[in-house]
């Protein structure tokens, strides 16, 4: 899996966004300060200065009034002029500028006996745009009569100084705020850097884990491919004796069991890595449910429980959803129900939740219920049972399972667009309910399940539009894998050549021009990705026929599939493959039709009913029962098979049935079947 470097936008995006937010905050703060100054502080300061100007002017009014009431006209005029001159001399303590820039008098000559206009004195400036005008009434100190009005033009420095001081304070405080904001900005950027570093470390660890899983997957699946493939191939060889074929069957089943185990572990890894994807197919849900019921019925009846299966009639037969996930959910829930129920029954109900809506609608909500009469789950444990590695008390007591089944089930239910819930009462039982979303489908869209029949030849032997047999190139660095495919394909009628690596494959493709290439993607010298690209390039440049390239990979993740398709492959088969997958892909891409041999007898699957099994076991000799019970309890596969060989002499059908169970590792079922104490 390639590690993508962190893109520039993603790397710096957060910094840019945070920085822009802080810049916006800074801008807003500055704008607010200016707005506050303009609309609130400055007008208030101006009013304050005007008030101060009034006080100053008023302080001079009494002296002017005193001068006005001097009886002698000459002295009065003299006194007035002196008072005014003195007032105009006053300077501000801070600015050293005159407080009053001008002073004019308007006298009521009805009160003051003087020629009209003679005392209307004007000193200093008579107009200024930015100074304060303060009008003061002059009352007679003797009679309180209004003598006139004095107009003072007060220096604007009063306001300027005041505003300067306040502005200085305001902006000092705002700068402190800005410095604090900048500090916070820096702090947040450092914090983001640390978070990013931690995230990168976590991502690197996750990538390492993914790489490890991919490698593990490859390392485990590659030899499994040989084990399963060769055992399948050898089973078809008529030269082997029935005993050897039986042994090969054991090898094959063991390989498949191991493969399932690996798949389960990988499933958990995918859940943790949030890499679960839907693989929707159209299938017969009746058939699927019947299969599940069939699988479970035996286990249920071995515990003397009743199994009830209710499927509502309005469930469409063919639906499109992820069949494998749905089956796994049902198997998990039913398995739990059977495991924890000692008496009573287990019920599986399937209904359509959207029944009241348009029944012809293709969209469905299917509802499933798995009910048991087991010990129930205490309320305090109910909330935790879907957590990974968590089991209810009864689960611990049973010492079975790792506590992952319900976690996987919940994840799958959510993947299928539904919800899962549990309702339980202690001592009465438990009901698990879940829904899934599905699409109703027509029967014609169901992918036919090809019977597991043996391919023995081709209906038409030639390919590439001529009389030559189809040419198949197998590219794999493992000799056993190359041999497996060669041995599979050549007897059927294909012309097969092999290559150990991508470079050889490119050369052979250039000269031999195969119809289809089975391409391993991980190889030394040149891997499958590069080889595929070169073959596609050559094909374009020379305009030659396009070979089908099908990737063979042991990769566990969906991304592997996307990567091989992007490289130019036409299809993808995950290793270890089943023989039928190889035939299906060749049929799909080459259009070949196969000739099949007769299917093998399925005798053992259809011979015994449950009562017969019980009777047959009871009829066995005590020695055989004891030996088989010991083998089963110690989970000794070989010993069990030896005892089955002895049983075969007494009851061939029972032996065949037991062999099936042993091959399927159903040791728990076998254990209950041979529980001597209960029988006695």
């Amino acid at each position: 899996m390639k590690n993508k470097p962190e893109s520039g936008i993603r790397g710096y995006g957060t910094y840019v966004i945070v920085s822009l937010a802080f810049l916006a905050l800074l801008g807003s703060l500055q704008a607010l300060i200016w707005l506050y100054w303009d609309t609130v502080l400055e007008p208030r300061l101006r009013r304050e200065a005007a008030s101060q100007a009034d006080v100053l002017a008023h302080s001079q009014a009494a002296r002017l009034a005193d001068a006005l009431v001097v009886a002698d006209p000459v002295q009065r005029l003299q006194s007035l002029r002196e008072t005014i001159a003195e007032a105009l001399l006053f300077t501000g303590p801070q600015t050293n500028q005159p407080l009053f820039l001008g002073l004019s008098l308007e006298i009521d000559y009805d009160v003051v006996s003087a020629p009209a206009g003679s005392l209307n004195l004007v000193h200093g400036i008579s107009y200024c745009s930015d100074c304060f005008l303060s009008e003061v009434a002059l009352y007679s100190p003797r009679s309180d009569e209004l003598l006139g009005i004095a107009r003072f033009r007060v220096n604007n420095d009063l306001f300027r100084n005041l505003s300067k001081d306040v502005k200085k304070t305001l902006f000092t405080q705002s700068h402190v705020g800005i410095v604090l904001l900048l500090s916070a900005w820096g702090f947040v950027l450092i914090l983001i850097r640390e978070i990013n570093r931690s995230r990168r470390q976590a991502e690197a660890a996750n990538r390492a884990k993914s790489t490890f899983l991919a490698n593990m997957s490859h390392e485990l699946r590659t030899p499994l491919n040989a084990i399963i493939g060769f055992s399948e191939l050898m089973q078809r060889d008529p030269d082997f004796s029935p005993k050897h074929r039986e042994n090969l069957s054991v090898i094959n089943r063991s390989g498949n069991y191991l493969l399932e185990l690996i798949n389960d572990v990988l499933e958990l890894s995918r859940i943790e890595a949030a890499q679960i994807h839907l693989n929707e197919t159209t299938f017969d849900i009746y058939e699927m449910l019947d299969g599940v019921v069939k699988m479970m019925r035996l286990r249920v009846e071995k515990k003397n429980l009743r199994f009830i299966f209710e499927r509502m009639e309005d469930i469409p037969r063919y639906v499109r959803t992820d069949e494998r996930k749905l089956r796994q959910i049902l198997l998990n829930l039913l398995g739990n129900a059977i495991k924890f129920t000692e008496q009573g029954c287990v019920v599986l109900r399937v209904s359509r939740e959207d029944g009241e809506s348009d029944p012809s609608s293709e969209l469905l909500i299917l509802r499933f219920e798995v009910e048991d009469t087991g010990p129930g789950i205490p309320s305090e444990e109910r909330n935790r049972i879907f957590d990974a590695f968590t089991q209810a008390r009864s689960g611990y007591d049973k010492k079975e399972g790792a506590g992952l089944g319900l976690t996987i089930s919940r994840q799958f239910v959510e993947n299928l667009g539904g919800e899962i819930s549990v309702d339980s009462s202690v001592g009465a039982g438990t009901v698990f309910r879940f829904t899934i979303r599905a699409v109703s489908a027509a029967a014609s869209t169901v992918e036919a399940h090809r019977e597991a029949r043996t391919v023995i030849g081709l209906k038409h032997q030639t390919g590439s539009g001529n009389d030559q047999p189809y040419r198949i190139l197998v590219v794999d660095d493992h000799e056993e894998n190359r041999s497996l495919l060669r041995m599979l394909l050549e007897p059927v009628g294909f012309l097969v050549r092999t290559a150990e690596n991508g470079r050889q494959a490119v050369d052979i493709d250039d000269t031999w021009k195969p119809d289809l290439i089975w391409m391993d993607m991980r190889m030394p010298v040149m891997d499958g990705y590069e080889a595929t690209k070169r073959i596609r390039k050559t094909e374009r440049e020379r305009g030659r026929n396009r070979p089908i390239i099908i990737a063979l990979t042991a990769g566990a993740f969906r991304e592997d599939r996307d990567a091989v398709l992007a490289a130019g492959c036409d299809d993808f088969v995950r290793r270890p493959f089943r023989e039928s997958e190889i035939w299906e892909k060749m049929h799909k891409h080459l259009g070949v039709e196969f000739v099949y041999g007769e299917p093998e007898s399925q005798e053992s699957e259809q011979t015994l009913d449950d009562n017969t099994i019980t009777e047959s076991v009871d009829s066995l000799s005590a020695d055989l029962r004891l030996d088989f019970k010991n083998a089963v309890e110690s989970i000794d596969f070989e010993k069990a098979m030896v005892v089955i060989g002895r049983i075969q002499k007494e009851d061939e059908r029972l032996a065949s049935f037991l062999k099936e169970l042993v091959n399927a590792y159903q040791f728990d079922v076998l254990q209950r079947l041979f529980e001597m104490e209960r029988r006695n």
Partner: protein
């Protein structure tokens, strides 16, 4: 001082708390005398402005009594204290005359003033707060007899009294322009210009 005032305005909450505490301390230490001082100052200052207002009355010369003097009525309700203080200001000036006319100050309780239908006053000076009903009667009386009623008490001008005082950075005459119009008293433009005007 200027800066201190400004800081006080910028922090009204702090100042309000401080003022509240100081006021509480002042009240507990000095009792009711502080508010009494404030009213005293309004009375004495108001008396001087009342004289200025009468002097600015264009028709004041036609409002003399039979003896040629101006009769000024100082109204009280139940306490003559404020009236006495105002009378002292009105009488004890270097020149207690108004527009060269002698002044006769009479202290009269409101009940008697209304009961006797007192007439012939050039102006009425209110020294105690009146209820809305009593003030209404007084204003109706002033309107009927075209005389100026003056109250130095806060809020009376807004209640309909013709003249009062506006205390800000300085003390100014305060005129209810509607009352001025209703009573038909004509004041010199000088006086109106320097006064604060209540227009509602």
């Amino acid at each position: 001082m200027t800066r201190l005032k400004f800081i006080q305005r910028r922090h009204p909450c702090v100042i309000a708390v401080c003022a509240f505490m100081l006021a509480g301390f002042a009240v507990s230490a000095a009792g009711p005398s502080h508010s009494g001082d404030f009213t005293d100052r309004r009375i004495t200052t108001g008396a001087r402005i009342f004289r200025a207002l009468l002097a600015a009355d264009v028709d004041i010369t036609r409002k003399t009594g039979r003896d040629g003097s101006l009769r000024l009525c100082l109204l009280y309700v139940d306490d003559t204290g404020n009236a006495e203080k105002a009378a002292e200001v009105l009488r004890n000036r270097d020149d207690s005359r108004i527009r060269k006319m002698n002044v006769r100050v009479e202290i009269i309780p409101f009940a008697r003033f209304v009961a006797n239908g007192a007439t012939g006053f050039a102006g009425v000076f209110l020294t105690q707060a009146l209820s809305d009903e009593k003030l209404g009667k007084l204003i109706a009386y002033a309107k009927k007899h075209k005389i100026a009623v003056f109250s130095p008490l806060e809020g009376d001008v807004e209640r309909g009294v013709l003249g009062g005082i506006a205390v800000e950075a300085r003390v100014r005459p305060y005129l209810n322009m509607k009352a001025l119009h209703d009573t038909g008293v004509t004041l010199k433009s000088f006086f109106v210009r320097v006064a604060k005007q209540y227009e509602k």
